[in-house]
């Protein structure tokens, strides 16, 4: 609870509150909503990549699964959106568990390969299961409803996702400094040392993978209702690369760094009016330059520089 009133969190809350007043136009608010949604996924992915050091390059698959779970369940089966979102998240959690459990018995980078494979498979299924998903043309999704109340208009959406982003930030900050968070970060530092200290390495890897998938699924469900139209491209390779870029560029393990990463990755193409097909080159370049010049990411690098100057 105390985490909500940390100065850094208060600043984020203040910025989120002021933004719609400072820029009262639908376009900016729309970009802000997309940043919040991406930020939630990236914060989840950061628990896996930044904290635990397990690279996933297929994380968009979980976003897409959440989105389609909501789309299919509400449109084809008439479920209520909130129920569909919850069931989707549970389903994605089970899937992530079933994927990670056998793989993490093996060592090293097999998880990375598996997440890549998962992305491809999910994309294929979404394209081919036309009866459910509408195939490559995608499907329309109804609005978000909570009970009988329909979430309408840019501002209500903004309020919802901004609150959820703050919640995700607080959860991530809490976890960072908790015993479980130290255990996760120790996996990144030295797996064998973590194990000798009592950390059940395979179990923590599986659980953090599942948790990060759930973050993605929930944000995916919301994205589906917000966009009111979804296509299999949600599970494409590009969105996965974008998510990984947010985590690496903003700052591995730094919660605020990852939020900044989401701002840059979602916001910059808007500022420059899109990259017209050169997104891959741009994000690839951004990733490479960060790894070379700021291996810790933007926020941790600057924090370190600042701390040095103070002392």
């Amino acid at each position: 609870m105390k985490t909500f009133i940390r100065p850094s969190v208060l600043i984020v809350i203040f910025v989120l509150c002021m933004l719609p007043f400072a820029f009262p136009n639908a376009y900016i608010v729309d970009v802000a909503i997309r940043i919040c949604l991406a930020g939630i996924v990236a914060i989840g992915l950061n628990l896996l990549m930044g904290f635990a050091g397990q690279v996933s390059i297929g994380h968009a698959a979980f976003v897409a699964l959440g989105a389609y779970a909501s789309g299919v369940a509400t449109i084809r089966y008439g479920w209520s959106p909130l129920f569909a979102l919850a069931v989707g998240a549970v389903g994605v959690a089970v899937l992530a568990y079933l994927v990670a459990k056998p793989i993490l018995r093996l060592r090293d980078h097999t998880l990375t390969m598996a997440t890549l494979g998962l992305g491809i498979i999910v994309h294929m299924v979404l394209v081919n299961e036309v009866a459910w998903t509408g195939g490559p043309d995608g499907m329309a999704v109804g609005p978000m409803k909570i009970g009988d109340w329909v979430l309408k208009g840019e501002m209500s959406w903004y309020a919802l996702v901004a609150c959820l982003l703050v919640l995700a930030i607080v959860i991530s900050l809490n976890l960072f400094s908790s015993p479980a968070g130290r255990a996760l970060r120790a996996l990144h530092g030295s797996e064998v040392a973590a194990a000798v200290m009592g950390v059940n390495v395979p179990s923590f890897k599986v659980r953090v993978f599942v948790l990060s998938a759930v973050f993605a699924s929930i944000a995916g469900s919301l994205t589906a209702h917000y966009n009111s139209f979804i296509t299999p491209s949600l599970a494409g390779f590009m969105p996965s690369v974008e998510l990984a870029t947010m985590v690496v560029v903003g700052g591995m393990a730094s919660t605020f760094g990852v939020v900044l990463g989401a701002c840059l990755v979602v916001g910059l193409p808007q500022v420059f009016g899109g990259f017209e097909g050169f997104e891959m080159v741009f994000f690839g370049l951004a990733l490479m330059l960060t790894v070379i010049f700021m291996p810790k990411g933007i926020v941790p690098s600057f924090a370190q520089r600042f701390a040095k100057r103070k002392s």
Binding site: S178, H188, A193, A195, L211
Partner: protein, 252 residues
């Protein structure tokens, strides 16, 4: 305390540890010595569950622990340090040591996400405790430092502090004085004696013969993976095989 029976490990046909048997008595400092490549680190890895033995078994306080994972052994009271530092360089010095309290704290992921006051309080106590262990190991001044800012010698001690923070009954130290200068080696000797004095059983791998002969109660000598000799310091020093194969005449 620790019964090692016919323990063997082969890496693709190379017997790194070959049919080794010896016993570590409770409350003693038991050193394992031998030339480079003799299989000392592999033996530690077998005992602590980092590797599974090809054959043989290990009993810890009478319980068969062969094939158990390191984290399970941590729960039983076994801890160790590493010849090649395994400090988590992405964490602060204090957080490294707090990791030692992992099994005593609520380490559920949901509990961490919620960070309710009870857990926060326990965590604060754990931080104080970690500071205590750092002080004991002689790295108290680094309590606010990041691990990546610490010099090599301090990192070796930090590993000892972290191992102690698990509150083990047996502690395995793999070359704690390697890379340290003369004075530092003396200080580490004192620290090990202090640790053993507090009731822990210590298994020590070390190349510094003066240190080994000074502080050990028992010594086991490995050579090419096999046990050459095992006994008290005096017995091992007089063992002709050991002298010719390893110690040479200089220690006499």
């Amino acid at each position: 305390m620790l019964d090692i029976n016919n323990l063997s490990k082969s890496f693709g046909g190379v017997m790194a540890v070959d049919d080794v048997t010896f016993e570590v008595a409770s409350g003693t400092i038991h050193s394992v010595i031998g030339p480079n490549g003799a299989g000392k680190t592999t033996l530690f890895n077998l005992i602590t569950g980092v590797y599974t033995p090809t054959c043989g078994n290990v009993l810890f306080s009478g319980k068969d622990i062969t094939g158990m994972r390191p984290d399970q052994l941590a729960g039983l009271g076994m801890s160790r340090t590493f010849q090649n530092l395994r400090v988590c360089m992405n964490m602060s010095a204090c957080e490294n040591v707090m990791l030692g309290a992992h099994l005593r704290l609520n380490h559920g992921i949901l509990a961490g996400m919620a960070n309710l006051p009870a857990l926060a309080r326990r965590d604060a106590e754990c931080r104080d405790e970690a500071h205590g262990f750092m002080q004991f190991a002689g790295v108290g001044q680094y309590v606010d430092a990041h691990a990546s800012q610490m010099p090599f010698g301090a990192l070796k001690r930090l590993e000892i502090a972290r191992a102690l923070a698990t509150k083990p009954t047996i502690l395995l130290l793999d070359e704690p004085a390697a890379g340290l200068n003369h004075t530092e080696t003396g200080e580490i000797s004192e620290l090990i004696k202090k640790i053993a004095g507090s009731g822990l059983t210590v298994v020590l791998v070390e190349h510094d013969m003066k240190m080994v002969m000074n502080i050990s109660d028992f010594v086991t000598v490995l050579n090419y993976g096999t046990r050459l000799a095992s006994g008290t310091v005096a017995e091992v020093r007089q063992n002709p095989e050991v002298i010719s194969a390893y110690l040479g005449t200089s220690v006499q």
